[in-house]
């Protein structure tokens, strides 16, 4: 196996003391950056980039990727502790992570998240190792129609699983689409929904919306409920960490399912954010404990975290092999490659195998180091929660406001985040789900571009979405996921002899 030999050479490159030190430093920096919402991995990596100009490319990419791993882990921390996702891809972690922390199980929640994330990342790296030569040619098969099909599957899996009123899910999703529309449209070059505000011409940053909807919205709710914050009761027991790590293998079904979804979404253009949402949605649907999702269910943390990290690792492959970044952070790193004098593209694997395989080897090491380091920080973070709400509340507010400002250094964004905070509060009060809104905001713009590009390519014929086996399969699966609630309703109705009743339900859905 040629890849294996090259990987061993890569380890020889990555395992020098110098490079291991760089990994530790990168992961620590990444953790700090990931914990602060708004700053995030892309910003952190671009701040660090100038430092790498004088380094050799291998050390430089190891530093940047280690920081990326650190930031991905750090992003989950605030999701769980304060309901503020530090990274877009850790939004789905808030759904069960935060309720668990509120129930006084912050240590368990954090440990679960970090351990499953580490496992997810390792799966991703193994997939990269095995499939690197095949992925480039596979990714080439993705045209606009295929892109759209990937996004469609993500949306469909979400609608298909939505609990509660389908009408409310739809309203929430449509509002998300509207928010994603703001700014200059790629296809026509016209500005849309900007109302001639300069600040809106760049569109609404997804991070601003998340900081408002989740962080500030939750804060408003907590205040109304009378300043009680049950995290206070969290017991600080170091042994909990070890016990929780030992507990993770029990969720192997969820782990495998989520890792598969993650790798798939990382290689295709879906990306880590879509992967974590889809994995959460499918977990809720197919897990035996699905009905506990959203109430502090361990599997509800394992599912998105595993998928997020395996997608994050796999997303680096299209960047190296095609020069198409799979995530915002990958885009910054790609910029770095070009400045170091390397050209990402199909030839990189043959022209600079030492670089590519050194990087892949460092991904194994970097993730292991990251897991160990973040587990060590768990007691520290859990300790923060023991502070009374009168201290934690203002602290969250400050973090949110600073986060909103840091995204693009716009004061306007702070007001926008406050507005989203109110929206988030109203949504919660009226029992509208936030997740579809967020998903639509993340993918809406990309899905729209892909759809319109596909329609331009086919001169307006929707047949392009069923024009080859790849795209037909994806669209078919998407439609199946969309109809799943209907099908199960009919099926169950049939079993219990209440077909008419279930049919009526199906029609109303």
């Amino acid at each position: 196996m040629g890849n294996f030999g090259q990987l061993m050479d890569g380890f020889a490159v990555a395992l020098t003391t110098h490079h291991v030190m760089i990994m530790v430093m990168g992961v620590l920096l990444g953790l700090i950056v990931g914990v602060l919402p708004g700053l995030g991995a892309p910003n952190g990596v671009s701040l660090l980039l100038p430092l790498t100009f004088t380094m050799d490319p291998i050390s430089a990419i190891i530093l940047l990727t280690s920081m990326y791993w650190g930031a991905l882990f750090g992003g989950s921390t605030t999701s769980i502790l304060f309901n503020i996702p530090g990274e877009p891809s850790s939004v789905a972690t808030t759904f069960d992570g935060y309720p668990m922390a509120k129930q006084g199980q912050a240590v368990r929640a954090l440990t679960l998240a970090f351990t499953s994330a580490g496992l997810g990342a390792l799966t991703g790296v193994i997939v990269i190792t095995l499939l690197s030569s095949w992925v480039a040619s596979f990714a080439m098969r993705f045209g606009a129609a295929e892109y759209f099909a990937v996004y469609f599957m993500a949306f469909a899996s979400f609608i298909g699983m939505a609990g509660g009123s389908p009408f409310k899910t739809l309203v929430s999703m449509m509002l998300g689409f509207a928010a994603a529309t703001v700014g200059i449209d790629t296809i026509s070059g016209e500005s849309r929904l900007t109302f001639e505000f300069d600040e809106l011409i760049g569109g609404i940053s997804f991070l601003i919306a998340v900081i408002g909807l989740f962080g500030l919205g939750e804060l408003l709710l907590t205040m109304e409920e009378g300043l009680k914050f049950e995290g206070v009761k969290a017991k600080l027991d170091i042994r909990t960490i070890a016990r929780t790590v030992a507990e993770v293998p029990r969720y192997w079904v969820t782990l495998v399912r989520s890792a598969l979804i993650g790798c798939w979404m990382g290689i295709t253009p879906g990306g880590p954010t879509a992967a974590s949402f889809m994995s959460y949605a499918l977990g809720r649907r197919f897990s035996r404990r699905g009905k506990y999702f959203g109430k502090g269910e361990p599997e509800g943390i394992v599912a998105p975290e595993t998928a997020d990290h395996s997608a994050g690792s796999c997303a680096l492959l299209p960047m190296l092999a095609l020069g198409i970044p799979g995530s915002a952070t990958a885009a910054v790193m790609m910029g770095g490659l070009m400045i170091w004098g390397l050209s990402p593209g199909p030839m990189l694997f043959s022209t600079r195998p030492d670089f590519v395989w050194g990087l892949i080897a460092s991904m194994y090491m970097g993730n292991i180091i990251a897991v160990v380091l973040v587990l060590a920080t768990v007691p520290l973070f859990a300790f923060i929660l023991r502070a009374p709400f009168t201290v934690v509340g203002p602290m969250i507010t400050i973090v949110c406001v600073i986060g909103a400002y840091t995204v693009a250094n716009h004061v306007f964004d702070i007001w926008l985040a406050l507005a989203f905070g109110i929206v988030g509060y109203v949504f919660k009060k009226l029992d509208y789900p936030l997740a579809p809104f967020v998903l639509a905001m993340v993918l809406g713009d990309k899905a729209e571009d892909a759809f319109r590009q596909a329609m331009l390519t086919s001169d307006g014929s929707p047949a392009i979405f069923f024009s080859n086996p790849l795209v037909s399969t994806m669209m078919g699966l998407g439609i199946l996921l969309l109809c799943l609630p209907l099908i199960t309703a009919v099926f169950k109705g049939g079993l219990f002899g209440r077909a008419g009743d279930a049919g009526a339900q199906g029609r109303s859905a």
Partner: protein, 334 residues
Amino acid sequence: MPSHALTAFALTLTVALPGAALAEWQPNRPVEFVAAAGPGGGTDTFARVVQSALSKNELLTTPIIVANKAGGSGAETFIYAKSNKGDPYKLYFGTQDAYVLPLANKLSYSLKDLTPVAALVFDPFILWVNPKASGIEDVKGFIAKAKEAPGQIKLGGAKAKEADETLMTLIERSTGTDLTYIPYKSGSEAAIQVAGGHITANVNNPSESVEQWKAGVQKPLCVFESERLADKTVIADGMSWNDVPTCVEAGINVPSFAQPRTVWAAADIPPEALAYYVELMTKAVATPEFKGYEERGAQIPRMLTGDAFKDFIKKHEASYAEMYKANGWLKAAE
């Protein structure tokens, strides 16, 4: 602070300052480079290459921070420049977008809000196809195919309007063909779509497709320049950039369509600061880092400063305005 102390302080300042102002202007705190593109985009790489050239060769010893303001196809950068009028600690990096964007969109900034510093280099445009997927080997084949099936050739580019779509309309007009433009987020994305056989052709800068060319999934048909590119190093199929015919040679009468890589400052910065930056950029262009960047991208080393740059801007803007008018893209009069 008592008021007399304040007066004394102000006095020392007024005594000390003229001396400082007479001497050459020098930045004494960090300088911000604002790139009118997202990370990884052409303008982003441009700004970061200048950053690395300056700091590696210690031409600028205060820290340089690169920020990306890509919103509104980069308009965000120039609006930001407007709000930082007179601030000599910020430079803005772009292309022709600085003056082309306001043509089609109602934006709150205009060219008056910017001080032109320099155009450091020009990026040529090339017409690419995937020879295997499309069966097109040269410009003749391209035109023949376009005439055979009007509207069936899908040509990809970065963003709507602006350089890439404008260039397509020029190709259409000079060859009497009808092509369909498909906008993508970036030039490299369009290149991958051509390489994968999803669309027929694309136009972009050499650096965005060269790796696909080496891999044999893209082929350059012609370069939109009046002369062939200079580099004779063989890249793929025994061809160098110099072996790519100009489009005029090959049968598309679009003589020159290069994209300047431009540096701007806000309006009303001190003239000494402008002079300082012009000199700084001249030094940056001479560094090995910048030379390497030019070579990798097969760019045309043509630097413009001062009045030459201003003249160029005026002419370039006018030619874009004319093309936009012909395409019906000019923004509605208020």
